[in-house]
């Protein structure tokens, strides 16, 4: 059964009032602490920077106004577009590497006996028990002697290391639901081991691949700690750029503009991915 089917509500079952009540606290939380700030950020991108940071209102002919200055600044210099592009390439590369490294491991975990499976999943999430910054610092010790520190390779290694569990876990959850009878049926009908993987396991794991890829790709785009600690001065990503505007340059409108543009780009990509991976049209 695919994820879409599992989530489908049985026909003719209307949501009860109680369900809305239960959904109220998280909805309120998200409205106040997520939707609100996003709107503030959006508004800030149309304002001017204050003299000592913060935001300054824009006055034109004595009236309140909005300005596209920050957007103009972004599009005036190719360096920003280049950082955007590089960030997407780094995020894509990290995602692909996580997938290539994580898939065999997820498959091995999903196919191992139940008790060992629990142990292996525990091992996958065990790094979360120590602080992410400390683990990234540890890579300095590892990569330093190898002469890889402060290079794009170090950034990719660090990003893959940090995000690998986010690829493995959704893949595991998907792969352990596969009916082993399907592989037996394919084998019975003449499929060798590689064909069984390509024709059965891989297509059925697409929801897991999509979920894992989203969980890796999107956070990597906003990541600034790993490039800052492991990368050179030329290895900065959008995350670093945004952080710089808010903390170092004190140009909040530009920082907000970069955030808005990043969000729009991610939404576009997710939209395209969702459209490309939509469930098959069925005839009824």
């Amino acid at each position: 059964m695919t994820d879409d089917q599992a989530n489908r509500r049985p026909a003719g079952m209307a949501p009860r009032p109680g369900q809305w009540l239960v959904a109220l606290p998280p909805t309120a939380f998200l409205l106040v602490f997520f939707a609100g700030p996003v709107l503030l950020l959006f508004a800030a991108s149309f304002l001017a920077p204050g003299d000592f940071g913060g935001l300054a209102p824009v006055r034109q002919e004595g009236r309140w106004a909005l300005t596209l200055d920050a957007y103009g600044f972004f599009f005036s210099d190719w360096i920003y577009a280049e950082i955007f592009l590089r960030s997407f390439v780094v995020a894509a590369l990290t995602t692909v590497l996580c997938l290539v490294l994580g898939y065999p491991l997820a498959l091995a975990i999903a196919q191992s006996p139940r008790r060992r499976r629990e142990l292996l999943i525990l091992l996958v999430v065990l790094p979360f028990a120590s602080n992410f910054l400390i683990r990234t610092y540890a890579w300095i010790i590892v990569l330093g002697p190898m002469d890889l520190l402060y290079s794009p390779v170090a950034v990719i290694v660090g990003l893959v290391y940090v995000h690998l569990p986010f690829m493995i876990l959704p893949l595991c959850i998907n792969l352990e639901k596969h009916d082993p009878a399907l592989l037996e049926a394919a084998q019975d009908l003449g499929a060798g081991v590689w064909t069984r993987f390509v024709r059965i396991t891989l297509p059925l794991s697409m929801p897991g691949i999509r979920a894992g890829s989203a969980l890796v790709f999107i956070p990597v785009l906003g990541m600034f700690a790993v490039p800052e600690l492991l990368g050179g001065t030329r290895d900065i990503l959008i995350g670093n750029l945004i952080k710089e505007q808010f903390l170092d340059n004190r140009d909040w409108p530009l920082g907000s503009t970069l955030s808005v543009l990043l969000t729009v780009a991610v939404l576009l990509l997710v939209g395209i991915a969702a459209w490309a991976g939509r469930p098959r049209e069925s005839i009824s």
Binding site: M1, Q5, D188, L189, G190, R280, I283
Partner: protein, 361 residues
Amino acid sequence: MSLLEIRNVTRRFGRLAAVDRVSLSVDAGEFFTLVGPSGCGKTTLLRMIAGFEEPDEGDLLLDGRPLAGIPPERRPVHTVFQSYALFPHMSVAENVAFPLQMAGTPARDIDGRVREALELVHLDDRAQHLPAQLSGGQKQRVALARALIGKPRLLLLDEPLAALDAKLREQITGELIALQRAVGISFVFVTHSQHEALALSHRLAVMNCGHVEQVGSPEEIYARPANRFVAGFIGTINLLPVEVREATPAALRLFAGGLGEIISTPQPGLCTGDRGTLALRPEQVRIIADGGDPMTENRARGSVRDCLYLGDVTVYRIAIAGGVVIEALLANRDPGVNRFLERDAPVIIGWARDSGVFLRD
């Protein structure tokens, strides 16, 4: 030469022998059934034929060639799984085309053969549907088409009807017989249902605890069960403990507590004093109201303990002296009229000398 030879095959799981020294043969074009209670080893035997298990001892031969070491994907044997195992991300047509693609059939031939196979199971109008959009019976037919399209030497069916409701099961039973006749491929069918085994098979093997208890046609198995297990497993039967009084080529005289002397068909190799069981089908027992004459060699007086009205027949349980209870079956030829025997009514039961089989302990 038979198509499939199973020679002295044993398969152990730990210390338990799931299949214990089984020898069987299946002929070309035959509908062969393995029937037995769950855990009797029938599915393990099927999985060994498919190649998912290897025997610990013994040999499997297909067309005279040993199957040992040949993986499932290279055996000309296809399986209809109990859960059907249809590929959920492929349409009906893609599912059915799968074995042809695996066999390297040219793409231009595949469409036509898929259409033929779907017509064979009356699903040509469902080719573009996904398995999730099909009913249980339709899924079952897709699984059949998919397993048959590659023209295997042998088709294995692992309880394919178990997941269907009774009415559909009956209908598909009929379709299976017609289908097997149409394609001419040997079927090895695994079931725990004696009804399916009797209705479908040319021959069946009754299995228990890893052993084959009896092999034969449905008529042979039903009318002449080889032992108490087969007698009790296939159909319902009265099992009466008896002792041989006199065994001559002319007649077999038995003695049973409560019933007295019983005359039965002679069997070679029996001596006075041998203990055993008389197996008597309920439909072989005549039952009439007290005072009548059942016109049979064997008879006994008793009373109706209870009766079970099943529509087409009524099952009476008759209490005889000495605590013996005999089940008798009465066809309701005129429904509504024939239910004449009340509880505790005195009756006479009787059965012919050639009814019933003596089974030695």
